[in-house]
Amino acid sequence: MQDFEIKPYPELWHELDMDVERFDKARQMLGGAYSKIFLSQNNRPQAMAYFDEMIAEIFGGRIKELVQAKKEGRPVVGTFCVYIPEEIVLAADGICVGLCGGSPGSIPDAEKILPRNICPMVKSAFGFKAGRICPYFQAVDFVYGETTCDAKKKTWEILDRLVPTYVMEIPQMKKERDRALWIEEVKDFKAKIEEISGKTISPEQLAAATKVINGKRRALQRLTKLRAANPAPISGKDALLIEQIAFYDEPVRFAAKVNELCDELEVRVAKSEGAFPKSALRVMVSGTPMALPNWKIHNLVESAGAVIVNEESCIGTRYFKDLIAEGTEDLDQQLAALTDRYMRIDCSCFTPNDERVTQVLKEYKDSAAQGIIHYSLQFCHTYNIEEIKIREACQQEGIPYLSIESDYSPDDVGQLQTRIEAFLEQVEG
């Protein structure tokens, strides 16, 4: 555990026009944090070794694959939202990487340009590009943004100056005419990917890509189900890490590795073995995405002895709870099925969005949690306001509930620790 290191690849970083010196410091810090937060855990499943390796190689191994793909003329697309249909990129033999930022380190770079009082995830991501301190951002050919929240929507215009940025229009409601617009947007997205890759996507290719991404979703669904066991067979931190890696790993390999892990967890569950004792309090987190390396809430909760058993979040179930209906080789029908699946994502940017309240309660029951922590990034208006409805639903159902609004800075850690511990005392009764 002591000799864990995130491997340096200075030449590769040079090639990607990065600020190598500065980035190398960030690499060391991240490696230290990872050892402390992850490798110090007890009773970790053996199959976590692959994901540890993914982190050790986060700034090299996977980056080489991206660079190689580019050399082969395959498009590498950066995205910021689970509404961007990654199967279309895959169908054109391209690679999709999630670029959401979860680190405070790049925020000062962003605040030189962007306003301070916007979502830390947007600032962190933007800062990675502005400071040239993220190899993924450096490796992508272009970014495909979307019109979800205002912070992102308007940041695309500025980001476009640093990297070509296209925008997919995502409606704000889910009426029939919104669906019609959505399908048109999906077609435009496909056309753009075809234009850039110089390839035409055939129905067979789209069917194959859909199958791959559905396979990734199924593997993550399987993992989520296993977490419902008591004792929990895997820590919330490890599960969150896997959900984060899902956004940049090669999907076929990733799904196979998650399934391998699940095989191991099944044995654990059968033997009633856990990452935490059976008596550990079980908490579910619901809310905004927790992008790599944002492990703040999970770390606080699990350091206090409780275990997180579910993330109702974009880096969590919202990413994989719905599958695309397969079985047709007609392109229009495929795109319609794809759109219908994406329309089921219950992001708070939509109004109304009562499906999410129902979904939170469902996941609470399915995961056998004993309390819910609502987590909203600072200045995320839609989640912060929707929090009211989640809170009311929890009150009505008698579910212990805590709402946290936080950013990436360490300033509030002391206070959050007290609030989380007090919440756990409350759950304990």
Binding site: D411, D412, Q415, T418, R419, E421, A422, E425, Q426, G429
Partner: protein, 249 residues
């Protein structure tokens, strides 16, 4: 015998119980080495179960305490010790303030803590008292003596301080400024209390509950009675000691 220690940001408090009877309360400033200070506090007592709470609880646990509870639970237990029917508790200490709601059985059902900001805490009052040249003990009574408040716009400690200086330079009576500053704190606290739909009588704990102007303005603001324990600053330590007792059986 059971001991509760509250390691707060500004002061350390200790409560000692002999069975059901509170036999001793002590308080010292936190200083640089709070856990050593705390060990001084209980050194003269025979070894017994010690429960820690407050900001420094984990440090205490590492060094001497048998267990920890949060300030939230400690104040809930402490408030119930003085007022067995307590349902809503306001605790205002040196560096934070909280509102806690209990159910009939005394279990915490909801709580809020004020965020990352001195406004609405003892620290704010302390700094403002100093900038007007009063001790903390004088500050409340002075504010009470005025029937009229000076206009103060900012609740931020830094800006409020410069407003205070400029009002002083304009010859506004110190008592009026003091009243305005107390009102500013009270309206913050009342806002927190309202968010929690508190309807039963409020129990007010923490060092700031010694301030008569805060109590009186708060009663006015809420239009209801505010109950203050005889030892408000010790409520947390008392709660911790009671928990030590409960958890030992």
């Amino acid at each position: 015998m059971n001991i509760g220690i509250d390691l707060g940001s500004r002061a350390l408090k200790m409560a000692v119980f002999e069975g059901d009877e509170l036999v001793e309360c002590r308080m010292v400033e936190s200083g640089f080495n709070p856990h050593q200070q705390a060990e001084e506090l209980f050194k003269s007592f025979p070894p017994c179960r010690i429960m820690a709470t407050g900001y420094g609880r984990h440090l205490a646990h590492k060094n001497f305490a048998n267990g920890v509870i949060t300030e939230i639970k400690a104040h809930a237990l402490g408030a119930r010790y003085f007022f067995p029917e307590a349902m809503t508790i306001l605790d205002v200490g040196g560096q934070d303030s909280k509102v806690i709601t209990l159910n009939r059985e005394g279990k915490v059902v909801n709580f809020q803590m004020n965020d990352k900001c001195a406004a609405g805490t003892g620290r704010f009052l302390e700094i403002m008292a100093a900038s007007l040249g009063f001790t903390l003990a004088e500050f409340g009574p002075i504010a009470l003596s005025s029937g009229h408040e000076a206009p103060i716009n900012s609740m931020c400690t830094v800006f409020a301080e410069s407003e205070v200086i400029s009002l002083k330079n304009h010859g506004v009576p110190a008592a009026d400024i003091a009243r305005a500053l107390h009102l500013a704190v009270v309206s913050r606290l009342a806002g927190m209390i309202r968010r929690q739909e508190a309807n039963a009588a409020l129990v007010f704990t923490g060092g700031v509950a010694r301030n008569p102007a805060i109590i009186s303005l708060l009663q006015e603001h809420l239009g209801s009675e505010v109950l203050v324990p005889s030892l408000p600053e010790h409520a947390g330590a008392i709660g911790a000691a009671l928990h030590a007792q409960m958890s030992s059986t």
